[in-house]
């Protein structure tokens, strides 16, 4: 019998966010591999299937996460190759800021093994709901914080800027569980090239279990250096400027509108032979 892989998301808040199809995949799997954000969620998952294997054992501080994640992928794929119906369950969305699922699916497909992904409610989804931000309003840019620091980016300060994994800002080693104040100062200096010193930013954390409170702590940008940050803390920078009209594009659109109006209002032509 051919094995298969389904990567599912369990959502952010235990018990509140999992989709019926993801729950069904977990319950019916031959083996479930898991990466949850807290012990309660792991325990909850273990109640849904008799063979739940936690992938946490691969993590070690100081160990490059690329190695960790490749080991996780190999562990998952071994069971798929063995003909098992495998489910890999991740907290949040399995395909958002989660490379294990993407790598596992890519590798499975390369070996012609069936592999799919079921979406879950992500931290980003919770952020929009909890903070009342509509990404369609003035736009929204998302970056992994370290990558944002390593590469030159065009920052649009009229849109929201959301930096994920801010507690690991500037980690080149890929092995740290957090970076210190000196790293954060580099990030703040970079942001100060675009935002005023007194710009109010938000530290956000979605709630993991029912009794948790979500975090929406407002601080000044310069206070980020000394702020308490966790692995799952997200930095939200609201816009500090207004959108600037693109006059050239607007002029082109006006010309098209006028042309279409002329065609619409023009005399109806008939062909006379």
């Amino acid at each position: 019998m051919s094995g298969s892989l389904v990567c599912v998301g369990t959502g952010m808040t235990l018990g509140a966010h999992i989709s019926p199809i993801s729950q069904s995949h977990i319950e019916q799997a031959g083996v479930v591999f898991s990466l949850m954000a807290n012990g309660f969620a792991q325990k909850w998952l273990e109640g849904m299937n008799t063979d739940v294997r936690c992938l946490q054992r691969f993590y070690e501080e100081g160990k490059n996460r690329n190695i960790t994640y490749n080991e996780m992928v190999d562990t998952i794929l071994t069971e798929v190759r063995d003909g098992k119906k495998v489910v890999a369950a991740f907290y949040g969305h399995p395909g958002v800021f989660a490379c294990v699922s993407h790598r596992a699916i890519k590798k499975a497909k390369a070996e012609e093994l069936p592999a799919t992904m079921e979406p879950g409610i992500s931290a980003e989804d919770c952020l929009y709901a909890d903070l009342g931000i509509d990404p369609g309003k003035t736009g929204c840019m998302h970056y992994e914080t370290s990558q944002f620091m390593f590469y030159k980016r065009n920052i649009d300060t009229s849109a929201h800027l959301i930096l994920w994994q801010v507690a690991l800002a500037g980690d080149k080693s890929l092995g740290k569980f957090s970076t210190g104040k000196a790293y954060r100062q580099v990030l703040v200096d970079l942001l100060l090239e675009h935002y005023p010193r007194d710009h109010e930013v938000i530290l956000y954390q979605a709630k993991g279990i029912a009794i948790d409170a979500m975090r929406d702590e407002k601080i000044l940008l310069t206070e980020l250096v000394d702020a308490e940050l966790f692995m799952h803390t997200t930095l939200v920078l609201p816009p500090c400027s207004t959108m600037q009209p693109n006059e050239a594009v607007l002029a082109k659109l006006v010309a098209i509108d006028k042309k279409e109006e002329r065609i619409k209002n023009g005399p109806e032509l008939s062909l006379v032979l």
């Binding site: 325990k43 946490q56 991740f90 370290s146 994994q165 279990i209």
Partner: protein
């Protein structure tokens, strides 16, 4: 599934438990210890965690590995597209 986990699932998924009074009523019939009830009422996650002897330890939440620029595929030709609003 442990009683604590069942209560947490209930609290997170039952829309009628949207105030302290409703939660208190639900907790009265839940099979929890006094310490667990106190931890839930005071929203103390650390105390609640202490009550589950085999609660799995989470060392690290899944974190993204930032791609290097030479690892990123540049898409120059998009043949199909989908819109999902």
């Amino acid at each position: 599934m442990s009683n604590v986990i069942e209560v947490l699932v209930k609290m997170a998924s039952d829309s009628s438990l949207n105030n302290d009074n409703a939660v208190s009523k639900m907790l009265v019939i839940a099979d929890l210890t006094e310490y667990q009830l106190s931890a839930i009422s005071s929203k103390n996650t650390a105390h609640l965690a202490e009550t589950i002897y085999d609660l799995p330890m989470i060392k690290c939440v899944p974190l993204m590995v930032p791609e290097e620029s030479n690892e990123i595929e540049i898409v120059t030709c998009i043949k199909t597209f989908a819109t999902n609003f």
